[in-house]
Symmetry: C2
Subunit: 433 residues, 2 copies
């Protein structure tokens, strides 16, 4: 039996049927987006809170669906690390429900007056936040992303077409059923949050071509996915590329803060995009104070790769090569390099960084401000762990990813970042001379 027949409850549609099905999903999403853009803040809050209640009420059903995903994953030899990320338990289901309530509690991002001014001719101009429209979200494995992505899109007045990871297909379907229950009870269109009803990979290709139906594509996954989206689709993208994050320990760093931050930045969780991949150390700090940091990392099970100069301080490191400065390990490996002060650090980061998140550790205010100003990354931190690169940690309730593109939205993408704006101009009969 193929994966596909295992997965689907009804016969697999032929190619043209799949295209018709996807077009119908797009048509319904567009219709829902028009209604959602005008929905009251209260209706959206009701939908999210009732969805949270539905997640709790349907916990058994959601866990059963998750068990089915897990069983299939095991059959297919999916790694235990991946199965861990996929697995739900009552605590994680409760966290999903609480997450929906947290998003419900955020200020409504739609209708905010972002700026207003009056022109000498009396025209009153306002820039007002409005939803983006229909968002297509393509993501991998973890089922909680289904709830987060659907809820953030809803909060910001957007219709969502979700294409989840195939490993979490049944879990996602059960979660979307709960979200739809919330929508129904708030009187909002059920098509506000739709899950692509198949794991068939062809559906992604169709999704990427739905130029009229989808306004924005959000790929949340590995570089392969993002490259595919950028290659195949002409729909604008909010892209989340790699996080090759640096922590720079300045000569004026507090050694205790440096120890705690570096250990956390690298090892708290090694697989997230905000994990530090390269440690840059000021020569002035390295000679006497670096050993304690390296010792902590080693004790925590981190492999250390160093440049020749570090090797003279600690010959226990693996020699680093040029490739190490370019690598997002997402693993318990850290590249370590000596640099000449903050200028050397900025130089290294501008050469090898991915403009995602970079941090400096220093007690020197001027050096800190220089680093903040000159490092051209979405997030630049002073005396804090790069692992704070997260919408939740920024107070956005949740995030749909960290945008590494230059045009807004840049950095963590929460509900507010899923809006755009329009200009309202109120006149009294003005004509242009």
């Amino acid at each position: 039996m193929t994966t596909e027949t295992l997965v689907r409850d009804r016969p697999r549609p032929s190619e043209p049927d799949r295209a018709t099905e996807m077009a119908e999903i797009g048509r319904r999403a567009r219709e829902a987006a028009v209604a959602l853009a005008l929905a009251s803040a209260e209706a959206k809050v009701t939908a999210l809170c009732d969805a949270a209640a539905a997640v709790r009420a349907r916990a058994a059903e959601i866990l059963a669906a998750n068990a089915r995903d897990l069983a299939e994953a095991e059959t297919q030899g999916v790694s235990s690390a991946l199965r861990d990320r996929l697995a739900l338990d009552p605590k994680r289901v409760e966290a999903i429900a609480a997450g929906l309530e947290a998003i419900a509690a955020l200020p409504d991002p739609v209708g905010r007056v972002l700026a207003q001014w009056e022109r000498p001719n009396g025209l009153e101009i306002q820039r007002v936040a409005v939803p983006l429209g229909v968002i297509g979200i393509i993501y991998e494995s973890r089922p909680n992303v289904t709830a987060d992505a659907g809820a953030l899109a809803l909060k910001s007045g957007n219709a969502a077409i979700l294409r989840g990871g195939s490993e979490s297909f049944y879990s996602s379907r059960a979660l979307v059923a709960a979200l739809v229950e919330g929508l129904r009870s708030a009187g909002l269109p059920e098509a506000s949050i739709q899950l692509v009803p198949t794991r068939d990979r062809a559906a992604v290709g169709l999704l990427l071509k739905m130029t009229g139906a989808i306004d924005i594509i959000v790929p949340r996954g590995g570089p392969g996915l993002i490259e595919r989206v950028q290659r195949e689709s002409r729909i604008p993208v909010i892209a989340h590329l790699e996080g090759l994050c640096h922590t720079y320990v300045d000569g004026a760093a507090d050694p205790q803060k440096a120890r705690a931050i570096v250990l956390n930045a690298k090892m708290r969780r090694v697989s997230i995009c905000g994990a530090t991949e390269t440690l840059l150390v000021d020569r002035a700090f390295a000679t006497t104070k670096l050993q304690a940091i390296l010792g902590d990392l080693r004790d925590a099970g981190c492999e250390l790769r160093g440049d020749p100069e570090i090797l003279t301080i600690d010959p226990g490191l693996v020699p680093a090569t040029e490739v190490d400065w370019q690598t997002e390990y997402l693993d318990a490996i850290l590249a370590v390099r000596i640099v000449d002060g903050v200028a050397g650090a900025i130089d290294h980061i501008s050469r090898y960084g991915s403009q995602h998140t970079d941090a400096i550790i220093t007690e020197d205010k001027e050096t800190a401000e220089r680093f903040l100003r000159e490092v051209d990354s979405a997030i630049v931190l002073v005396n804090a762990s790069t692992q704070f690169a997260d919408g939740g940690e920024f107070g956005m309730g949740a995030e749909i990813g960290i945008s590494t593109q230059r045009l807004p939205p840049r950095g963590p993408v929460g509900a507010e970042q899923l809006t755009t704006y329009k200009y309202l101009v109120r006149g009294k009969g003005q004509v242009r001379p």
Copy 2:
């Protein structure tokens, strides 16, 4: 003699040479962008004011270059309308210089704190405006765009690579020389504003492929140009698509305001993207008060195309077809249609509009607010001409175009809209639990 040999002062590079030349332009632009991002507001103001002075001092040179463009345009049988747009005279040169000073006088858009908050763990977060980086601007004919585009890019701390219309090649080159004089006198990199030194069309293809060197492409021209950019380039685009603008005259419109606004919205200048292309008229207005509006338009030389119902009121109109509702004429032609109140107008606009600019004329506040809320266009106006869709009219000093995309920047793109942002996070040793 081919156009190309006429145009160039030095031998034409072979294909690989052209690629090397473009790569070198990209490398220099990147270097300039790094310096510009850190340039003081004062230095940018100096550069722009000194550039304005240089434009005035070099007026004769600029006019001679323009005469060369015009002579070639005539040889090549360019239409007199296009030659009109291309032509400079001392008054237009002075307007270009004054435009540079107006952009200099704008508030500096870089470094603005767009938002700031503190997290419960004590992290202080700021969202701060920063330049986009290197902007590639591809545009057509009018030489003043060279000055506007270069100056807006500079004001917002971006390096610009300008690829002007081939008809205005010499004029643009003379203007860029003046801009560079301003840069030099302010101590800013001369490569901050570069003109692609050839009219060779292959250069555009090369420009569109410079993914590492160029952060944003701004195509300013016809739909053919924009489609080419979107097809050939993977660089993010700020796109200016068509302006199929509507003016809706509500039953509660003031007839005098309606006459003045409609005439202005259509006929002030028919070739700009903010010109009204379709007039929607509430049935309640049409029967008694429409004739005066149609009379004004006819007197001004506008061809009128109407739906069958209008033809019963005024049989002098050309019958409109489905295609008329879909056409951006950019000419003295107006499609006119009767609709059922504001709901009918919103419905028509959502079906046929290009989400650029739409206006309602009404004295009914509630109807006006409904139109503002439900029409999903970059600019929505009440009781004012659609021809106000312009960065200058919005108080932005100048514009590089009107973005019709959904993600920001949407609407008029001035200096502020050519920035993005980054997050600065100041901590005291925080690690993520």
